[in-house]
Subunit: 188 residues, 2 copies
DNA sequence: CCAGGACGTTACGGTTGCGTTCCGCCCTTT
DNA sequence: AAAGGGCGGAACGCAACCGTAACGTCCTGG
């Protein structure tokens, strides 16, 4: 049986290495070195770099985000924005995510994995968030969950992952009111 | 004197290679191969990969985007969204941009170059757009240009560069009305 | 107590890329 | 006609990885 502690060490090393040099430059040797492990131990578990990264990343990404249910749209929205902004400020995640997104533009397998891992959750969260708000009468009936998700995640991602500015709480508040106003108008 | 046609061939090859394999895996040899050029010709112009890429990319990115001035906020907004969505659907650009953004998280020099090239324009466009709209009374006086830019670019970037969905004109319209509503509420 | 398995280590041949050097060609300048 | 500079091409030594193989060690189960 494969030793669990070794597997964990490899997984950690892959995440670390992925953050440091990116998928493109990630080498099995470097992973083995960092994990304090022989290359053999890695090849015993996965047969290539792609397979290894996909398995590890999709496992991490698959850990489900709790669906929002605070009782009000404002509360749900705030919760989601907190979770997302926290995640995007995480040192490792904030480097791995854009890297894999860029790589996904070239590698269909990575694209699929990311779609499955992220998009599914994203959609579920969006539908629940909007559905609840509509049921409560906080949003008009025609509200499009996809647009809502884009409006919420887009600016956050842009600011935190692309512009890379500081986590300004006043900004988050402005963004929240803006997004709320945007969605309330969707039925017009 | 260095031959201009050779320089052009190299620049094209770099952009192409950058789109195909990304900065991480970009090799001088591959660039030379694709450009139909000796490595010598490249090293005669730049001293390493980073310098070469920075010079070429910042040159391309520096080409100024026209400031919007259609006479109405709705018109300006639509123009910007058209320009951005067109740019993000460009085959080469849509692969290079996310890739360099990811790389920027690791390489301060790339980050600086990108900031300078993109952010400056972005800010200018945002300030002009919002300023004009406020002057016309189309937006409340307190409107934050930074938030406005994030609200416009964020969702577009998310959808086109991250989610990679099709260019849906109905979506663009929905997004436009949503963004307009969001910004009009900013003074509340 | 012993067999088997997972491990780290070392080594292997092969590939790729680096940055440099030298060559001979060709075009321009003088 | 001669000189010089930019060029492509080939080769260099060096380093990093690849994926595989052959050790010897340690731990576990029977």
């Amino acid at each position: 049986m494969l030793r669990t502690d070794i597997t964990v060490a490899i997984r950690d090393a892959v995440m670390y290495e992925l953050a440091e040099v990116g998928y493109g430059r990630l080498s099995i040797e470097a992973v083995a070195r960092r994990a304090g492990v022989g290359k053999t131990a890695i090849y015993r578990r996965w047969s290539n770099k792609l397979e290894m990264v996909l398995e590890i990343v999709s496992d991490v990404a698959g850990r489900s985000v709790p669906l929002p249910d605070t009782g009000s749209f404002a509360g749900d929205l705030q919760l989601i924005m907190m979770i997302v902004s926290r995640a995007l400020q995480h040192r490792i995640a904030s480097q791995i995510i854009p890297d894999l997104m860029a790589e996904a533009a070239r590698n269909p397998q990575i694209a699929d994995t990311l779609q499955t891992a992220l998009r599914t959750h994203q959609q579920a969260v969006g539908e629940k968030l909007v559905g609840q708000a509509v049921a409560r009468g906080e949003l008009p009936a025609g509200t499009d969950p996809d647009v809502a998700v884009d409006l919420i995640l887009g600016p956050l991602y842009w600011r935190l992952a692309v512009s890379r500015s500081k986590p300004d709480p006043a900004y988050l508040e402005k963004l929240m009111t803006a997004v709320t106003a945007a969605l309330k108008s969707a039925g017009d």
